[in-house]
Amino acid sequence: MNGEPKPHLRADRSPRGHPGLMPIAPPRRRKVDCIDFVERITDYLEDAVADDDRAAIDRHLEACADCIRAIEQWRRVIALTGRLGQEDVDAVDAAARDELLAAFRAQPPAP
C-alpha cells in the first residue's frame, strides 16, 4: 500500500538463490491474476499470506474493482452467515434437560 516501489529493471532474472544478488535485488513485481486471487480471499482475510504475496495482492487490488468487490462479498457472506447463529438457536427442551440433570444426579461417585 504505502511505499509503493518505483518500477525497477528486472534484476530478479538471476538464477534463484544467487547469493550475491539477493540482498540488493528490488522487490519482485509479481503479477496477481484474478482467477488465482479469488481462491485466496479467505487466506487474505485471515492474514495467512506471506508479506511479499500481500504486497503483490495489494498492488493488484489498487487496480481491480472486481476483486475488491469479491472481497466485499466474502465479508458479506461471513456477516450474513453469522446472523444464523443469532436467529437459529432452538429453545432447549425442558423435558430433555430434566432427563439430563436426573442422569447426572444418578451417576455413582467418581472412583
Binding site: 491474476d33 484474478c34 482467477i35 488465482d36 479469488v38 481462491e39 485466496r40 480471499i41 479467505t42 487466506d43 485471515e46 495467512a48 481491480c64 474493482a65 472486481d66 476483486c67 468487490r69 469479491a70 466485499e72 462479498q73 466474502w74 458479506r76 457472506v77 461471513i78 450474513l80 452467515t81 453469522g82 446472523r83 444464523l84 447463529g85 436467529e87 437459529d88 438457536v89 432452538d90 432447549v92 427442551d93 430433555a96 434437560r97 432427563e99 439430563l100 440433570l101 442422569a103 447426572f104 444426579r105 451417576q107 461417585p109 467418581a110 472412583p111
Partner: protein, 218 residues
C-alpha cells in the same frame, strides 16, 4: 451452602474436578454453554431436526457417563464435540444413511472453484486469468433487502447443501464463532486445509446469493 449462581467454570481443570464431585452447578454451566451450539452443529451433521435433537441428547448422556474417564488430552469443548461427531456417525451408520459426513472424508465436487472458470478471460496472455464477468453487485442491495428473511434462508439452504467437511467448517467458524485452531483440533485437519474448506464453503454461499439476486433483481 453458599450460592454459586455466578460460578464460572471456564477453567477446564476446575470444571472437570467439579463434574467429578457431581457438582450440579458445573453440569448446568456446561449445558448452558454448549447446548445451543451442539444443536446447531448437530443440525449440520444430521439432516433432520428430530434426529439432531436425539444426537445432542445422546451426546450429553455420554458426557455424563464419560466424565470420569476423560483424560484431559483435549479441551472439554473439543471432547464434547468429538462425542457429538461420533454419536452422529454411529447413528448414520445404524440408520443406513450415507449422507452425514462419513468420517468427514473428502468428497467429489469439493474442489470446485469459487467462480466458474469461464468467468475469467482466456486467450491473450496479458489478460488471461482476469475477470471477464465479474461478481454481480448483489452486496449493494439495501440492507433491509440483503438481511431479509429470504436472504438468510438462501444462506441457510446453501450451507445445508455444502459438502460435509465444508459445512462443518463453515458452521463452526462462521455461525458458531470457533477459532481456526479449535476447528483444526476438532476435525483433525491442518490450518491450510481448514482455510481451503472454509473458503470453498463461503464461495458456494456467495454464489447462492448471487444466483438469488440474478433470479430476482431489484
Amino acid at each position: 451452602m453458599v450460592s454459586h449462581a455466578a460460578v464460572d467454570f471456564s477453567d477446564d481443570g476446575q470444571l472437570v474436578e467439579a463434574l467429578r464431585r457431581r457438582d450440579e452447578a458445573a453440569f448446568v454451566w456446561l449445558l448452558d454453554r454448549y447446548d445451543a451450539s451442539l444443536r446447531r452443529v448437530a443440525r449440520t451433521f444430521v439432516r433432520t431436526g428430530a434426529s439432531a435433537d436425539e444426537v445432542v441428547q445422546e451426546t450429553w448422556l455420554a458426557v455424563v457417563t464419560g466424565i470420569d474417564r476423560f483424560e484431559m488430552r483435549s479441551t472439554v469443548k473439543t471432547w464434547v464435540f468429538r462425542i457429538l461427531m461420533n454419536v452422529a456417525r454411529t447413528r448414520s451408520v445404524r440408520e443406513h444413511r450415507n449422507v452425514p459426513f462419513s468420517d468427514l472424508a473428502a468428497e467429489a465436487g469439493e474442489d470446485a472453484p469459487s467462480f466458474a472458470p469461464d468467468r475469467f478471460r482466456s486467450g491473450l496472455r496479458l489478460y488471461r486469468g482476469h475477470w471477464d464477468r465479474g461478481p454481480e453487485p448483489w452486496e449493494e442491495q439495501p440492507a433491509e433487502r440483503l438481511e431479509a428473511a429470504e436472504a438468510l434462508a438462501t444462506v441457510r439452504r446453501a450451507i445445508a447443501a455444502l459438502p460435509d467437511r465444508q459445512r462443518a467448517v463453515v458452521t463452526l467458524r462462521d455461525i458458531d464463532g470457533w477459532t481456526a485452531a479449535e476447528v483444526c483440533d476438532l476435525l483433525e485437519v491442518s490450518e491450510a486445509n481448514q482455510r481451503v474448506l472454509l473458503h470453498r464453503g463461503r464461495g458456494r454461499v456467495r454464489q447462492a446469493l448471487e444466483d438469488a439476486y440474478l433470479a430476482a433483481p431489484v
